[in-house]
Each structure stands twice: as C-alpha cells, then as structure tokens.
C-alpha cells in the first residue's frame, strides 16, 4: 500500500512535470509556425506586419514615446487596420546610434518578417539601413530622421519620409529673418554633427539669398557641451542683431536657459529650428524660453479641425500634448493606410508605387501636405513661445506657406 502510494505520488509529479512542459513546447511550435505563416500570408492575406523601430532608450527615448503613442492612437482610431488589412505591430528599440538602430531594423525584417518598417529617429540609422531594405525589397517610412541624403543623394525607392528635411525647416527661417529686419547680422550656432551642419548650411544659403549677412558661426561639440558661456560671449562680441540656433534634447534646455541667464535674451532675440522648443524640453526651459521663435511644420496650437480632433484624442488617451514627432508617426499610419488600399501586394516596389500616387493628404493635423519626391512638401509655421495659463506653448505667429521638401 505504502509503496503504491509513493509510486502514485511520483507518477503524479511526473504528470505535473509533463503538463508543465507541454504548453511550452506547443507554444514554441505555434510561434514558429505563426511567424512564418504571417510572413508568408502577408502577401495576399488579411494582415500586414509592421515593424515600429523607435528609440526606447537613450537620448531620444522621449521622442520614441511620442511616436509609439501616436502609432497606437492611429491604430485605435482606425480599427487596427491599414487599408483593409489587420495590423500586427512589432516594436524594436532603435537606441541612440546606428550601432543599435541598424541591427534593430535587421531584426524586425529577418526574425519578425515584417512587411513594412516605420520609425527611425537618427539620420545615420536611416542612411545605414538603405542597403538592408533594398536587399529585402521592403518599405521603410521614416517618421523623423531629417538628413537630406535619406531621400536625396542616397535615395532608394524603398525609403519614404513623413517628417521633414533638416534644411527645409531652417531655410524657411533664413528667408523669414532676411525679410524681418535682421539683414545686417545674424549669428548661427549648431552642434558639430551632420544635422547641425545641414541646418546651418541651408539657413545661411536662404538668409544670404535674401540679402542677409551671417556675422559669426560656432559649432559646439555635440553631446559634450553643457556650458555654453564661451559661445554666448562670442555671440555678444559679434554684434549680431539676432541668433539662429539648432539644438534639441538636453542641449536645447541648457542653451535656452543659459541664453537667458547670461542676459542675451533681452538684447539679441533667439530664433531656431522648431526642435529647440518642441515636446518635453519646453516645460524644463521654463520662462527662459519665452519669446523664442522657431519654424516647424507643426505645433499643437495649430487651429484646424483635424488638429483639434487629434490633440483632443491624444490628450484624452495620454494626458499630454502631442509633438511633431507624434504627428509624423500618425501620418506614417495615414499614408500607409492610403497606400495599402491601392497596392497590389506588400512588397516594397508595390508599396512605393502606391505611395507615389496618393496625392495630397488632406486630413493630417499639420495641414495639407503631399510627397515631393519621397519627403513632404508642407507648410512651415513661425511659432513663438508664449505662456497660456500655467503652461508654455508654441503659439502660431505666421503661416510661412508651403515649402518644397529639399531646399534649392
């Protein structure tokens, strides 16, 4: 009896053990099968697999959050569908540099077998995945990275962009400043990396074309400068009538604060590309940011029905205002939705052809825009930081009108 009992107990244990391993084994089996099934089924079935590659860590993590929220919101508002296909999203962390970003794109393409990739904050990553996408013949919709080369010199039919081109934004400011009485002298400052150089080059070209004169220029080391005093002294000494700058993230916070603390804000007005005061940096800059003017293709203050609806929905869901990074990703959903309605298949060539034919996007929160080449032709807005109640906002001063995607 006693031996029988132990045997039963042992057998019971063994049964438990087997029961515990079974689901694991079957789960492995189904996930493998499911993965390949979805990949194969993507061609003609009712699903589309999207790889959302955004920074979840690193300096751009806050941008990644804004982007993911907008993507989720778009799907929620449209029944999780792009065209008439049900969307399955695979999120991967782009990290900070191409060393993490390129492998993340490779991973979603190869392991997850996605049909389309959306995201990419870093321009070097966007440039670095060019060949990977061309080889896989898959479409990438860049929803931030602004280097001109992405859809310019290094163009491939597989990479489209719903965001902006660095120079598009600063060129508009160059033209504006030349027309607003600052022709005698503007000081230009931006970090010494690719985007900073592009921004300054396009600004200078447009400003000089309008008859303006750049009286000084500085390139603080990117990611290593937190004390801007030496540069601020240089700006004051240059006798400039205004400063044009390009900073983002914590550098934007430090620069704007110190610009006010060293007393330049009162005498030499500060202008910049919109990222200077966009998103999470603005509350941290506080009153130092008041009256800073920037150009950008979006502000949550834009007064149009689509934006009001978008801002309201975004606020209701997340309790925060959307940023341009949100709108860019929201619009990635929008253009893919339009493309998938006409595309014959999910391969890169079919989708690129479909994207080329979608014409003007008339329901974006940023206003009307269309693809000019593979980047947006869109209106840019002159914005000014103002206080509304207890928050700071980028109030719209002026619509600078539609701007071509790559500045001439």
């Amino acid at each position: 009896m006693i031996t029988d009992q132990t045997l039963t107990r042992r057998r019971l244990l063994r049964l438990f053990g087997a029961a515990a391993t079974l689901p694991v084994v079957s789960a492995c089996g189904s996930s493998v099968g499911g993965g390949s099934g979805a990949g194969g089924g993507g061609g003609g079935g009712g699903t589309v697999k999207v790889g959302l590659v955004i920074p979840q860590s690193g300096v751009y993590a806050a941008l990644g959050t804004d982007m993911q929220r907008a993507w989720d919101l778009w799907l929620e508002q449209h029944g999780s569908k792009l065209g008439d296909r049900t969307v399955q999203t695979v999120v991967a962390d782009e990290g900070e540099t191409p060393q993490t970003g390129v492998p993340a794109v490779q991973k979603v393409l190869q392991s997850a077998q996605v049909d389309v990739v959306v995201g990419i904050v870093n321009s070097a990553t966007a440039l670095g995945v060019r060949d990977v996408l061309a080889e896989a013949k898959k479409l990438l919709v860049v929803s931030n990275a602004g280097a001109a080369d992405v859809t310019g010199k290094s163009r491939t039919p597989y990479i489209w962009r719903t965001s902006f081109v660095n120079g598009q934004i600063s060129a508009a400011m160059g033209t504006h400043l030349a027309q607003s009485g600052f022709r005698e002298g503007v000081y230009a400052i931006a970090p010494d990396y690719a985007a900073g150089t592009e921004v300054i080059a396009a600004f200078t070209k447009a400003f000089e074309a309008g008859g303006g004169k750049v009286v000084g220029q500085a390139k603080p080391p990117f990611g290593k400068t937190s004390d801007y005093q030496p540069f601020l002294t240089g700006i004051r000494a240059s006798g400039a009538k205004a400063t044009f700058c390009f900073f983002s993230g914590s550098e934007a916070i430090a620069f704007v604060r110190q610009y006010a603390q060293f007393g330049l804000a009162g005498t030499i007005p500060l202008y910049g590309s919109g990222f200077l005061t966009e998103g999470s940096v603005l509350p941290q800059q506080g009153d130092a940011a008041l009256n800073v003017q920037t150009t950008l293709h979006y502000s949550d203050q834009l007064d149009n029905p689509n934006n009001r609806k978008f801002v309201e929905a975004f606020r209701a869901k997340y309790g925060a205002a959307p940023s341009c990074f949100s709108v860019q990703t929201y619009d990635a959903g929008n253009v893919l939705d339009r493309a998938l309605r006409t595309a014959k298949s999910l391969d890169g060539d079919a989708l690129a052809a479909a994207l080329g034919g979608i014409g003007t996007i008339d329901d974006s929160p940023r206003g009307l825009w269309s693809f000019d080449g593979q980047s947006p032709r869109q209106n840019l807005y002159l914005r000014k930081v103002e206080r509304r109640g207890d928050t700071l906002v980028n109030a719209i001063v002026k619509d600078l009108g539609p701007q071509q995607s790559q500045p001439a």
């Binding site: 990611g223 005093q229 030496p230 240089g234 430090a254 604060r257 060293f262 007393g263």
Partner: protein, 282 residues
C-alpha cells in the same frame, strides 16, 4: 571677457573641490582612484533627481555628502589589500568600480542627459560691471572659494592637516612614530569622496548629469592633479584655477583650439616642471 574670467573662477573652484580629494589620496597613499569621476556623477544625478527647490537642493547636498563619505570608506577598504601592489592593479580595480558605478547610474537614471535647474532665487542673473551673469555661478564662486579656504586651512594650519601632510611626505616615518596610517587613509579617502559628490551636486546646474560626464570630469581632475603636483592642496588650487581659465577664456578666445589648450597647458607644465607646480621634490 570679464564674463569669461568669472566663469573661469566658477569652473576653477568647482574643479578644486573635485580634485583635492583625488590629489591627496594619490599623493598620500599612492592610490590612483579612477572612480573619482563616478562619485562626481553620482552627486550630479542626486542633484538632478531632487533639484528645483531649496529643500531639494539642500537635501541633495546632504544625501550626496553622506553617500560620498560612505563610498570613500568602502573604496578605501577595497583598495587596502592592493596597497603594496602596482598602480596598474589599483587602476584596474578602481576603473572596474567606476564602470560598475556608471552602469548602475545608467540603470537607475536612464541615459538621457539631464539638465538641472538652479535653486529658486539663484536661477536668474545679476549685472556685474554692466554685464548680466548667472546668479548661481556667482554663488558657486563664493561657495567654492569658501570650501577651498576651509580645506586649505585644515590641511595647512591644523594638527590633523599636519598629519595628512606628513603622511604624504613620508608614510613610513609617520607609521614609525606610532600613527596607524591606514586610518589616515580611510579618513582622507572619505573626505575626498565627500567633496567629489558635493562638487557633483554643486556643478549640476552648469554641467547637468549625463552618462560619460564621469570620464570628462575625471580627466579634468587628473590634469589638475598633474599640473598642481601630487598631494599638494596649494597645487590643486593653482591647477584648478588655471584649468578653469584655460577652459573658459581659452574657449572664448580660441574656440577651435580649446581642447588643445587644455592639454597644451598640461604638456607645458610637464616640460617646465615635471613634478607639477607645487609637487614635492623627488
């Protein structure tokens, strides 16, 4: 120009508070503490986490000081078994600690660079000789000068200071007259680390807190120590103020040569006075 000079003083005094501990520990115990930068960064993150109000700022100073003291004792105990081994072994140990500490800070605070607001009342600017200058930096110059004065007075003018200087000069002789110089080492290590974390909190509103800042300030501190001479408080003060001006005025006058100016100054001192400005003779 005046602004640059003032700024040089702000940076210089901050560097002194940071570097004096490194200098004394190295000069006295031959312990090369490469974790010194991590202590500064730890202080900076504490400051970033609590900054915004006076309560937060003072609490950050208190917490950072206590943590620095504790970290100094731990570092001292960890390096104790290696005291008769080569500098390389110590460098490896403290470098390892610095890497682990940096990684832990990264896990806790993320790798987003944080920018730190000065406490209320000090976040504006005042006009100095007709030029607006941030109030916080003026306060930092005052606090830094005061700290420098206190450290200098303690090391150069008190019995405890004499013991410390004696240990720097000849450790074995101090041991021979019956002083347990391990205790001196623990104490100097602890106070030096306290000053490093405090400098981190004080420097927050200027330098912020970000991964990699630990290495940047460690290099600055090492340059200061080498220029000033190992184990010399006077040397650390002179070196800090010199590097502060090089960093500030140099950057304003020769923006493109700023990084060269720093190490150029180092090279010049090494050529002219190989043991540093105030270093002990061989």
């Amino acid at each position: 120009m005046l602004v640059s000079v003032l700024n040089g003083f702000a940076i210089g005094f901050l560097l002194f508070v940071l570097a004096v501990g490194l200098s004394l520990v190295f000069g006295m115990m031959d312990v090369l503490n490469l974790a010194h930068g991590a202590l500064f960064l730890g202080g900076a993150y504490v400051g970033a986490a609590l900054a915004g109000s006076w309560d937060g700022f003072l609490a950050a100073l208190g917490i950072a000081a206590a943590a620095g003291l504790a970290a100094g004792v731990v570092l001292s105990l960890l390096t104790e078994p290696l005291r008769r081994r080569s500098h390389l072994d110590q460098a490896l140990l403290t470098l390892g600690i610095a890497l682990v500490a940096g990684e832990l800070l990264l896990i806790v605070f993320g790798d987003d660079p944080l920018s730190v607001a000065a406490p209320p009342g000090l976040d504006g600017s005042v006009v100095v000789l007709g030029v607006p200058y941030p109030t916080y930096r003026l306060a930092l110059i005052a606090v830094g000068a005061l700290l420098a004065l206190v450290v200098y007075a303690v090391v150069e003018r008190t019995t405890v200071g004499a013991l410390v200087r004696a240990t720097v000069a000849d450790r074995d002789m101090v041991a021979a007259i019956g002083v347990d110089n391990r205790l001196v080492k623990v104490a100097v290590f602890a106070v030096g680390s306290l000053l490093a974390t405090t400098a981190g909190v004080l420097g927050g509103p200027i330098y912020g807190a970000r991964p990699g800042l630990d290495a940047t300030v460690l290099i600055l501190a090492l340059v200061v120590v080498v220029i000033g001479g190992l184990g010399s408080v006077r040397g650390a003060l002179a070196g800090s103020l010199l590097i502060g001006q090089v960093e500030s005025v140099g950057r304003a006058l020769l923006p493109n040569l700023a990084s060269f100016a720093l190490f150029g100054a180092l090279a010049l001192v090494l050529v002219v006075r190989p043991r540093g400005l105030f270093g002990a003779r061989a």
